[in-house]
């Protein structure tokens, strides 16, 4: 094929997808930046350029800092735990213990449910006085606790819900990676006299690195993207204890209709995701050279 034909084909084939991507990803990101420097149009008044005023408001806003801190804790709380559980589940299911088909089903089912449905079920679970968790803890003689209604446990309670939903999803990827590992590796290591733990640490784990990276990226994105459960379970309360960044953006943008401030907040979120993307990119570079 001639060079020109390649050019033409290449660009034309790519055009529809790029057009949509530009319209709904690249353009909004830039437009968002632009709008974060303007004021919110209200009633009859149009938007005016206000420079860094929205960002100043952001810095002065205790709820923003709370949301940011909540989101970081939320990420720290859910990502390692769900990944570790996923790996554990994958190892167990891979080890052909009896009933592993059912186990695999049990672990994976929460993943295909919509988060909204999951939130409803867990809201019921957490109901003080007569929710299932209460009945559980009551049977063990533990004191009653309002999990979603107290600042210290609300975010943790939501983290549990997220881990419950996500771990099964990550398990599948680990399972695939484990099953694509050659059994000869195990045989060779056993001949050398390696213990199970040693084999895992020095052979399995490094081979799982690509999967781990993929799962990690997914988990990070979800930690910032998935706020459906907040809408149903706590609406950001009590006193902003479960306010996450995207939920705050939703509140500011669509309950208070302050679109300029929402744009500034979105820039912060984009910044965080950008940093994660860069970090992933560099990790990937190192990994590529490694092989």
């Amino acid at each position: 094929m001639s060079r020109l034909t390649q050019w033409v084909y290449g660009w034309l084939l790519l055009l529809p997808a790029m057009a949509l991507l530009a319209l709904f990803t690249h353009y909004p990101a830039l437009a968002n930046l632009w709008h974060s420097f303007q004021s919110t149009p209200k009633g009859g008044q149009p938007a005016v350029f206000v420079g860094l005023e929205n960002y100043q408001q952001l810095v002065d806003d205790p709820i923003f800092w709370q949301a940011l801190s909540n989101n970081l804790w939320y990420a720290i709380g859910t990502i390692p735990v769900s990944m570790a559980l996923a790996l554990l589940m994958a190892v167990w299911v891979n080890d052909r213990i009896p009933g592993r088909g059912i186990l695999r089903l049990a672990f994976f089912t929460p993943t295909i449910l919509p988060m909204i449905a999951v939130a409803n079920i867990w809201l019921f679970f957490y109901t003080p006085e007569y929710g299932l968790l209460e009945q559980f803890t009551g049977a063990f003689g533990l004191p009653s606790h309002n999990w979603l209604g107290s600042k210290s446990t609300a975010l943790g309670a939501l983290m549990v819900v997220t881990v419950w939903k996500e771990a099964g999803f990550f398990m599948i990827f680990y399972l695939a990676a484990l099953q694509s590992m050659s059994p000869h590796l195990g045989d060779a290591a056993a001949i050398e006299g390696a213990s199970r733990w040693y084999f895992f640490r020095r052979v399995t784990w490094p081979l799982l690195m690509p999967t781990t990276l993929f799962v990690l990226v997914n988990a990070v994105i979800n930690a910032f993207r998935l706020v459906d459960h907040i809408v149903v379970m706590t609406r950001g309360g009590p006193d902003n204890a479960t306010e996450l960044l995207l939920f705050y953006i939703y509140e500011i943008g669509f309950r208070f209709w302050d679109s300029a401030y929402a744009a500034a907040l979105t820039m912060v979120l984009l910044g965080i995701l950008g940093i994660v993307a860069l970090a992933q990119f560099f990790f990937l570079e190192r990994k590529v050279h490694y092989q």
Partner: protein, 433 residues
């Protein structure tokens, strides 16, 4: 042959056009009135609204009503404003009476005054309880028409009262009494775990409403009439919050943490709590589902009796055609006639919004057979306007956050209210210029 097929085609086209005419005519004379309505109380509200719509359409064949259930009050105002901003507003809607300033600021609604011209209409407007009109009028204009309005009432379990040695026909009349009763009514099992709470005031979602009752009872007011200033940090307001926190921490008769609004009636039915504060709009829900003898009382007095009004008004949105506007106005008048206002009150428990509704035979009969129905109405003389300001959602969020902080113990009532006031000041400052 060719000609015949063309002729056949023309004939069928003409026939189709003729058949369309009545449909077109009907479409043109049919005025469509869409409206959002929230549901914040238990009960078959959607069925009742659909029933009302059907009855109205039967009496007014040229008008088609389109009621759209839109979730909670907060969801509904979001949806209504979303529709306004996308250029397709509803014709009318039932939204919180306190959303009035926000709707005016967003240039979404028009006042009713232009439509209220005839003497009958003027008399109709005067017939609503003044307490409900406080959140419906500003700047000399009428922006909302009361429809599903309420006050907070105290529901109490008479059987539990008897068990605790209290007179089941003497509900607590003061804060002191409520505390004392609650202490007698709180039961603990052998391990110290509470099996029955004395009193429960919900604090999820919109705690500001229930808190306002306490504030009024303590002699405080939360905002000015123009909606440009709040008074969260006044001593009476802080004192009211202190009392609520004391019920939890000091007297230990109130559940810890945030109490969910939606499950409070069920908590009562499940005999987990002896007294609850919730809207009179839940009255029919209680009547249907409570399997014990229960009573309804006015809220106890602090320095005085009091409750905020609550609930939703009908608003008229801009950008509707004159035909739609008139149709909507017709519906609003139709649904607030004494007879229908009374029936709505009976079916739900909301306070029938006009005095003459209470004088109708069906309501009189109902009250005779079920006296609790009149409690909310009797409380009206003590009722005050609900918290309503410009940028209402944001300003009430500041208060809600502060209340939740105090109730979960992370801030003292004083600190919580001071912070809330600071936030609210920042938001309302621009509206005072």
């Amino acid at each position: 042959m060719w000609h015949r097929s063309i002729r056949n085609r023309l004939v069928s086209l003409l026939a189709a056009a003729i058949l369309c005419v009545p449909a077109l005519a009907q479409a043109q004379t049919q005025t469509e009135v869409s409206f959002y309505y929230p549901v914040a109380v238990g009960g078959p509200i959607t069925k009742i609204i659909d029933g009302l719509a059907a009855d109205f359409e039967r009496e007014n064949p040229g008008i088609k009503l389109k009621p759209i259930y839109s979730g909670s009050y907060q969801d509904s105002i979001t949806k209504a404003l979303t529709a306004v901003k996308s250029g397709e507003p509803p014709v009318t809607s039932i939204l919180l009476s306190t959303d009035m300033f926000t709707l005016i600021d967003e240039d979404a609604i028009q006042p009713f005054d232009d439509l209220i011209k005839s003497p009958e209409d003027k008399a109709w407007l005067k017939s609503f309880y003044p307490a409900f009109m406080e959140n419906s009028q500003t700047g000399g204009k009428t922006w909302g028409i009361p429809f599903q309005r309420s006050t907070i009432v105290l529901y109490y379990n008479k059987e539990m009262f008897k068990e605790a040695g209290l007179d089941p026909n003497r509900p607590p009349a003061t804060w002191k009494e409520m505390t004392e009763y609650a202490q007698k009514l709180t039961k603990r099992d052998a391990s110290g775990k509470v099996t029955q709470w004395g009193v429960q005031i919900p604090s999820s979602g919109f705690p500001y409403w229930l808190f306002q009752a306490l504030a009024i009872q303590n002699g405080g007011i939360l905002m000015n009439a123009a909606g440009t200033q709040t008074f969260y940090d006044k001593p009476e307001v802080i004192g009211a919050l202190q009392y609520w926190v004391d019920l939890v921490k000091k007297y230990k008769v109130h559940p810890e943490g945030i109490v969910e609004w939606g499950t409070t009636p069920k908590d009562f039915f499940e005999k987990k709590v002896a007294m609850v504060w919730t809207t009179t709009g839940n009255l029919t829900n209680f009547k249907t589902n409570a399997r014990m003898d229960f009573g309804v009382a006015m809220l106890p007095a602090g320095k005085q009796r009091g409750s905020p009004t609550g609930g939703g008004n009908f608003y008229l949105f801009k950008k509707s055609t004159p035909a739609q506007r008139d149709a909507a106005f017709k519906f609003i008048k139709w649904v607030t006639t004494p007879q229908r206002a009374a029936q709505w009150g009976i079916d739900t428990g909301y306070v029938a919004v006009r005095a003459d509704a209470w004088a109708t035979p069906v309501m009189k009969q109902y009250v005779e057979g079920f006296p609790p129905a009149a409690v909310a109405r009797d409380q009206l003389p003590y009722a005050k306007a609900e918290l309503s300001t410009h940028d209402n959602q944001r300003v009430t969020k500041a208060l809600n956050d502060g209340l939740q902080a105090a109730l979960t113990g992370t801030k003292t009532p004083e600190q919580a209210m001071k912070d809330a006031q600071a936030q609210s000041e920042r938001i309302l400052r621009t509206y005072r210029r």
